[in-house]
């Protein structure tokens, strides 16, 4: 269980949000939306330990993540190009996190020929798959997916989320999905969709079926139990 308690953060003395409290369970996907500039990315970075909050704590199974080790919360950047060294080839970029599992390489459709290329020589969808693969190789407990499919076409977007949904379930990884696209969040998030405002999170009920990429009926019943446990 990842718990955020009463988080506040901002820049240069200006507070973007405060009083953000939520709990994300392993193997679940939780959606986060909000207006431009509300601080969605900053909240994601706070949870991944990349930005220091001005108040509040993040705990994983009751403990604060230790620094200096592989982070249990991995942050996936909206533009994977911005999270990679442009002078490194894909082989080096992946090796940064260790040796990816062969099964994952196949699942993500990674072509062996890509290894000798530079990041700018892959398309956006291909590069985002490499970025997710690298994050998964670090054996994270949680992922922050910050608009990871925003620049992709609908088919590539759906493929990536189906794959991530399966991996989240099989490896019991919790995902915080950040997006402007409410329909996407309602589709992928079995733990519901939340909106970030200045005074914390507001929970929204989805209009249609929620989290239909999770076809596991056992998970579904556990999920409805889990949903009531969410605090916001």
């Amino acid at each position: 269980m990842l718990e955020a308690h009463d988080l506040a953060a901002g820049f240069d003395g200006r507070t973007l949000f405060d009083g953000v409290t939520f709990a994300l369970e392993s193997g679940r996907i939780m959606g986060l939306c909000g207006a431009s500039g509300a601080g969605k990315t900053t909240l994601g970075r706070v949870i991944a330990g990349l930005h220091r909050p001005s108040a509040g704590v993040v705990r994983i199974d009751g403990q604060q993540p230790a620094s200096g080790k592989a982070q249990p919360v991995q942050y996936l950047h909206q533009s994977p190009l911005a999270a990679m060294n442009p002078r490194w080839k894909i082989r080096c970029i992946l090796a940064e996190a260790g040796q990816p599992e062969a099964g994952l390489l196949t699942a993500f459709g990674v072509d062996a020929e890509w290894m000798g290329r530079f990041p700018h020589e892959l398309s956006g969808g291909q590069l985002q798959r490499i970025s997710i693969l690298r994050a998964l190789t670090a054996n994270p407990r949680y992922l922050i997916a910050d608009e990871i499919t925003a620049p992709l076409d609908p088919v590539s977007q759906a493929r990536i989320w189906h794959l991530l949904g399966q991996i989240a379930r099989s490896k019991q990884i919790g995902i915080l999905a950040i997006s402007h696209d409410r329909a996407l969040l309602d589709r992928i998030c079995c733990q519901g969709r939340f909106e970030l405002g200045q005074r914390g999170l507001i929970r929204h009920e989805a209009a249609g079926p929620v989290g239909v990429i999770d076809p596991d009926p056992a998970g579904r019943s556990a999920r409805s139990a889990g949903r009531t446990a969410v605090r916001c």
Binding site: G125, L152, D153, P154, W161, V212
Partner: protein, 258 residues
């Protein structure tokens, strides 16, 4: 107004010291755009959307190889780009907000754009038309939100009342309210008689304002559709690729029914 016949764009690069190879990025593209029309060009990243915009503007890098015919109001745009067209008759709304000068105030940049295209620089009126308060003229680009910056870029591109406006991902990174505001402004510009080439990856958002939707995938045109046919299960769509895109949207099948 704009006619594109059998357009191909490739890049030449060196392989070793003496040999070079050509990689193709756009091939066999045919498009027409009429005055008063909004033509949306949809494609994922790497489909060649921005390349198409740069080809129409004559802004391809020196190692690009362009084949086929490009014409604007009967005037050929290749191999030699005609002078006094770009920025006056044909304008671009760039994808990145970083196209603004970081060291100049918004108002100054808007009046420079107006002066360059030979029209009056009434910055306050222009800002009001975009729904922005007059104080915005005093701000520097880094003080603008994404939605405000996009409207300023739109105002600068529209300053000279261009006949053809190319909008390259004008809504990327905007929240739904700002996105719809920008699209509405483009639609209004078309009603005043301009042709709009709206390049985007966001199929759903352009359907209310587009007259036709061209679908680009890996440098090839995969069909031109009417927005009204993007409905239900997409049975009316003429290309199977357009149908796949439509059904993969989260509101529709999201590939769960594929």
């Amino acid at each position: 107004m704009l006619t594109i016949r059998d357009l191909s764009v490739g890049f030449r690069r060196y392989r070793g010291l003496f040999r070079h190879e050509e990689t193709s990025r756009l091939s066999g593209l045919n498009l027409t755009l009429d005055a008063g029309e909004v033509l949306a060009v949809i494609g994922g990243s790497g489909a060649g959307k921005s390349l198409l915009a740069h080809a129409i503007l004559g802004l391809l890098p020196p190692n690009a190889v362009l084949r086929g015919k490009l014409a604007f109001r009967g005037q050929a745009l290749n191999p030699v780009y005609p002078p006094a067209l770009r920025g006056r008759k044909i304008a671009l709304i760039p994808q990145q907000v970083s196209h603004l000068d970081p060291l100049a105030r918004t108002g100054a940049q808007m009046s420079w754009a107006a002066r360059r295209s030979g029209s009056a620089a009434d910055t306050t009126a222009r800002l009001a038309a975009l729904g922005l308060p007059p104080q915005v003229a005093q701000l520097f680009p880094d003080q603008l939100s994404g939605g405000m910056a996009r409207r300023v870029l739109l105002a600068m591109a529209e300053a000279g009342a261009p006949d053809l406006l190319i909008a390259d991902e004008p809504t990327a990174g905007l929240d739904p309210e700002n996105r719809d505001a920008v699209l509405r402004m483009l639609g209004e510009h078309a009603r005043r008689g301009a042709g709009i080439l709206l390049i985007t990856h966001d199929l759903k958002s352009v359907l209310p304002i587009a007259d036709r939707v061209a679908i680009l995938d890996e440098g090839r045109m995969r069909g031109i559709e009417f927005p009204r046919n993007f409905t239900g299960r997409g049975a009316e769509l003429t290309s199977s690729y357009a149908r796949d895109l439509w059904r993969a949207l989260p509101e529709n099948g999201f590939l769960t029914d594929a």
